[in-house]
């Protein structure tokens, strides 16, 4: 008994000893797996809008080449989930002719509803009209109800509203004038003392431009503005083109803001930034894609300007590897 147990444990030890070199070998062979991961990521970055959580693992599991092959032959991709969702939408599968027949135009329905035209004799067509008629009548009733509701209070209410706005603007101007008689450092506190409704009216009626708000010196310390329209990848242009045009807008806006600020520019700092940059290398369409890292501009009276801050490691070293 004793000896057999000993033999058993010896037998166990052998496979463990054999396993150890196998495990070590496995470690050495991890490089291709990492490459495969990189390939999957690269393919997803280039061929889709970017990987969603789990996409890289799915592509890896399927084999990258097979996945690319599928993208090139989309008819082979299993679309049953989408197809079952679209299934109830029968108009998607109808020809124009079928649609015209199944959905008679509104004037025709109206003519039948008004009795100017009789129902078609064909039983199928008649059924279509009979289904459409109650819908048409229901819509008419809804519209009539809406119209009568708005005519009760309608015209007078909008006159009242306009008068109210006018009054609000006058009040806000009076409030603003009073606030401007105070020393600058007390103006914000005075606004904050107003009831919150009055604060809102005042802010709504004040000059909209940021620069003018700052000039009004009501204590604005930080303001934010954004420019959209940077999502393009081709025809970016050097002086004319999608990127060149938004950059021109951007530069002219800064110049205009700067002019507007006048003397206050001396005490203002503007920082510009973007949540994404452009790739340093061209894409396949002679454009650039959304990239990692970008430039920030800082301008203002206190800025030690005219220079580049941070390190520039040189063009080769600047690429993220």
């Amino acid at each position: 008994m004793e000896s057999s147990r000993r033999r058993y444990s010896a037998a166990l030890a052998l496979p463990v000893a054999l396993l150890a070199p196998v495990l070590l070998l496995g470690k050495k062979h991890q490089a291709p797996a990492a490459d495969e991961h990189k390939r999957a990521l690269h393919a997803l970055n280039r061929l889709t809008f970017g990987p969603r959580p789990g996409d890289v693992q799915r592509v890896e599991a399927m084999d990258v080449d097979k996945w690319i092959e599928l993208q090139l032959h989309p008819e082979k991709i299993d679309d049953s989930a989408l197809a079952s969702r679209l299934d109830p939408l029968r108009t998607l599968r109808m020809s124009t002719r079928e649609m015209v027949e199944d959905f008679p135009p509104q004037p025709l329905i109206k003519a039948v509803a008004d009795g100017r035209q009789s129902l078609p004799s064909d039983p199928q067509e008649r059924a279509i009209y009979q289904a459409q008629l109650p819908r048409y009548q229901q819509k008419q009733e809804q519209q009539a109800a809406l119209q009568s509701a708005s005519s009760d209070s309608g015209a007078n209410a909008s006159d009242d509203e306009r008068a109210q706005r006018r009054q609000e603007r006058m009040d806000a101007r009076a409030d603003a004038e009073q606030i401007l008689t105070l020393p600058p450092d007390q103006r914000m506190a005075a606004i904050l003392r107003l009831p919150s409704e009055q604060q809102q009216v005042l802010l709504r009626s004040l000059p909209p431009k940021l620069a003018q708000l700052i000039k009004a010196n009501v204590g604005v310390q930080i303001a934010f503005a954004d420019i959209g329209g940077w999502d393009h990848h081709v025809n970016e242009g050097s002086t004319q083109g999608q990127l060149a045009n938004v950059l021109r807008d951007f530069s002219q806006s800064l110049a205009a803001f700067w002019t507007d600020l006048g003397d206050l520019a001396e005490d203002t700092v503007v920082v510009t930034m973007s949540e994404f940059g452009r790739t340093a290398r061209e894409n396949g369409n002679r454009g650039t894609d959304h990239g990692h890292a970008n430039v920030m501009f800082v301008l203002g009276g206190p800025v030690r300007g005219g220079q580049i801050y941070g390190q520039w490691p040189g063009q080769k070293a600047a690429i993220w590897r």
């Binding site: 920082v271 940059g277 790739t279 990692h292 920030m296 993220w320």
Partner: protein
Amino acid sequence: MAGPEGRDLALTTDFRRVLGEVLSRHLGNHDLASVFPGFDNSAAGFLKLLG
């Protein structure tokens, strides 16, 4: 964040360093740790953008 593909710029300056300097030296907010939690934004690291 997608991995590097040899076509992106490497990051050299954290944007919080730039905003931190403006907040602290221009607007006088010295409690940068509450604005950018978990980011070491000590004055020694500023780029000295402001004179």
